[in-house]
């Protein structure tokens, strides 16, 4: 009896260890902080559209298209676009800096996603206003080599 309880306890301890290790992932707060460190201010919703599959079977390369609604003229353009993911080992994904020469504030890229999580984008306009949008992607097989 004692022996069996011990094994069970060991098993639980081992399981807890695994869970702790798995928890070393970014949180929504960290994703927000990662962006806030570069984009000062409070973002408002809108202007950004995030295109990504609802369910990604392979987290190694999830196609993502981010479009920011802007005329991209010398007077009004998107200065920077910050993309973060809140369930990866590190929250940051990429930062894009545009100029009026870009003509259109849209980028397509492929991201790694460790697990089902939200992708968050924040756009910084040339006058300093911030816009944000997010989108959840369900991931079947994680893509960070775990």
């Amino acid at each position: 009896m004692v022996a069996s309880r011990l094994t069970r306890r060991t098993a639980f301890a081992a399981l807890a260890g695994v869970l702790v290790a798995r928890n070393a992932l970014a949180t929504p707060d960290q994703a927000r902080d990662w962006i806030a460190a570069m984009a000062k201010g409070t973002p408002q919703a809108g202007k950004i559209s995030l295109k990504a599959p609802e369910i990604a079977e392979n987290g190694n390369a999830v196609p993502l298209t981010v479009t920011v609604d802007s005329e991209m003229s010398g007077k009004s353009y998107v200065k920077a676009l910050y993309i973060a993911a809140d369930g990866n080992p590190n929250a940051g994904v990429a930062v894009y800096e545009f100029t009026p020469l870009s003509g259109k504030a849209e980028v397509a890229l492929r991201v790694r996603l460790q697990q089902t999580q939200k992708i968050v984008a924040v756009a910084e306009m040339n006058d300093g206003t911030l816009y944000t949008a997010s989108r959840e992607v369900k991931v079947t097989i994680g893509g960070c080599g775990g």
Binding site: A61, A85, Y96, S102, V107
Partner: protein
Amino acid sequence: MADDIKPRLRVPTNAKKGELVEVKTLITHPMETGQRKDADGKLVPRLIVNTLAVTYNGKPVLNAKLEPAVAANPYLSFFVKVEESGTLKFTWTDDNKQSWTAESKIEVA
């Protein structure tokens, strides 16, 4: 290994004045995240392409800062508004400060 790294571009050669041109790029690069362990259980050190700078006739168009969350063989597509003929120049830099460049000319009719 580093010899395998090769940038690829897809840029139209002709455009109309003021046209919005879609540009696609890919660089073959493993984008080692620093999270992965090798067969001996040791962490493989991080080695990613961390920046891509794009200029048109020397003027900046797009600067991308990439994190390990960008997939291997980083692909990127974006737009350029072309008003005049010129050269689109791409410069990728990785964690070892190694860099690769590629150029493509656009003829404006």
